[in-house]
């Protein structure tokens, strides 16, 4: 595989979008930034992939038309927090097969209060028929119960999850694009109102309006440019049929092959973006990708590696501090990894040669069903 990311962009995240903001314009803004970062123009693009919950009634082709993309490859993705890995997996193969040479992968949403309420009420038919009538508005209760199961199974307490939120907020201080950058203390975390016990306000991602985009090209087009080479992308969908405790994600199935193909081991990877819809899912995914080994003292790992920021984890602040821009949530971590590997991370820059990015998403009834892992390497 000889395919690299040579540009990344993010439309500024905002909790309260200005009147007149649209999903299409937000996506176009992120795409424009990514192309500028890559030193390319819309005329160079021949492949386009997009994921959005709020593009309706438009589709990928409408965006392509309105941005003037003339394409030989086009896809639209519906996998939420796992959309980035899915689109990247397809894009890599499209470039390798010669179907396209410059692919823009984008995701984003206008996620104001009305859009968020509409999305969570009709997320899928199972939600519409069996969760919304409870009534339940969104997945907080489901992940509260998942968190309780994880606490009981591994002997974790609220402070352990709080240390993850506090560390991510510290990373966010170095990211001008994060919506929450004010330092968060463990007391702030523990004292915040409960949303669904044991989850408090700082366990839940703030919905934001925004979009992310990356530009992917064959390596021969990336000569002389700072790049994040894609070493591997693997995926797992519907790994457990929604049966069981939800404490293992599809990453448990697909991560070993991603590491093997990349020739990188989980203990050696320099920076990690895991899909952080809730701190419990950060723990679950770090275990599933092998960064936290089975049987390890998880509380000690959180304290000595994550809370200390010895481990470069979710260095943008993650969704917990930067915000969750709908379906851009998965792409946010990929943009951050590309920026770190390309030396563009500003005050939060770490020395990094390799990166891993996980995607996780689409709660069918009880927990997420889609997962993927991408391994990247810095190159010139």
């Amino acid at each position: 595989m000889a395919v690299s990311i040579i540009g990344a962009g993010e439309s500024p995240y905002t909790r309260h979008p200005q009147p007149g903001t649209t999903t299409s314009r937000t996506l176009a803004d992120a795409i424009g930034r990514a192309l500028k970062d890559a030193g390319l123009t819309p005329g160079d693009v021949d492949g386009f992939a997009v994921s959005s919950f709020t593009l309706d009634p438009d589709h990928a082709i409408d965006l392509a038309w309105k941005m003037g993309f003339e394409l030989s490859w086009l896809m639209q993705d519906t996998n939420g927090g796992a959309s980035a890995g899915n689109m990247l997996q397809h894009a890599v193969h499209a470039i390798t097969a010669g179907d396209a040479s410059v692919i823009v992968v984008a995701a984003g949403d206008l996620m104001d209060h009305t859009a968020f309420a509409k999305l969570v009420a009709r997320y899928n038919s199972a939600t519409e028929n069996h969760l919304s009538p409870l009534p339940l508005a969104g997945p907080n209760a489901l992940f509260a119960m998942l968190t309780s199961r994880q606490m009981e199974k591994f002997g974790l307490v609220r402070e352990d999850y709080g240390r993850i939120a506090v560390a991510q907020r510290q990373w966010a201080a170095g990211n001008p694009g994060a919506v929450y950058r004010t330092p968060l203390t463990l007391d702030d975390y523990l004292g915040a109102p409960l949303v669904a016990e044991p989850l408090g306000r700082f366990d839940c991602v703030p919905p934001v309006t925004g979009a992310d985009a990356v530009v992917i090209v064959a390596d021969e087009r990336a000569d002389g440019k700072r790049k994040a080479k894609v070493l591997s992308v693997t995926a797992s969908y519907n790994a457990d049929n929604q049966v069981g405790d939800g404490l293992q994600t599809g990453l448990r199935k697909c991560a070993p092959l991603a590491w093997e193909r990349a020739g990188v081991s989980p203990e050696d990877v320099d920076i990690i973006s895991v899909y952080d819809d809730y701190p419990a899912m950060v723990v679950a995914q770090l275990m599933d990708i092998g960064v936290v080994t089975d049987g390890a003292d998880i509380a000690e790992f959180i304290d000595t590696r994550i809370h200390s920021r010895d481990l470069a984890l979710n260095t943008s602040g993650g969704q917990l501090s930067a915000g969750q821009a709908g379906s851009a949530g998965g792409l946010h971590g990929l943009v951050e990894a590309a920026r770190q590997l390309r030396g563009q991370a500003g005050d939060r820059q770490v020395h990094a040669k390799t990166a891993a990015v996980s995607g996780y998403g689409m709660v069918l009834y009880r927990h997420g069903s889609c997962a993927n892992l991408t391994v990247l390497e810095a190159g010139q």
Binding site: P133, A141, L142, M145
Partner: protein, 101 residues
């Protein structure tokens, strides 16, 4: 007013929410079955005061329910109902399984 569970008419595997193909025998014919009780596996209390629970039933069936008519603890055997007003005694409200897929 029990919860309604989907059952494969060929191999009796149970599902909730309803599926299109039985993942055990690959059959496509299903019937509705009543489930009168289940066991509370996990609960959470929302900021609006509602208690939400995960309920287990035989055959790897997991239901997300709202506790009505009282409160429930993990390990309790609890009555299941598809009527949110059936709250004269403690029960787990499980919105009706629809046949539409």
């Amino acid at each position: 007013m029990s919860a309604i569970i989907q059952t494969c008419t060929n191999c009796s595997a149970s599902y909730f929410p309803a599926r299109l193909i039985c993942r055990h025998c690959h059959g496509t014919e299903f019937a509705d079955d009543k489930a009168d009780t289940g066991v509370v596996e996990t609960t959470t209390r929302l900021s609006n005061g509602l208690q939400i629970a995960t309920i287990t039933c035989p055959g790897d069936v997991y239901l997300i329910a709202r506790i009505i008519g009282g409160t429930a603890d993990a390990g309790d055997r609890i009555r299941l109902t598809n009527d949110p007003n059936d709250d004269t005694a403690v029960a787990a409200f499980v919105p009706l399984h629809g046949t539409e897929l």
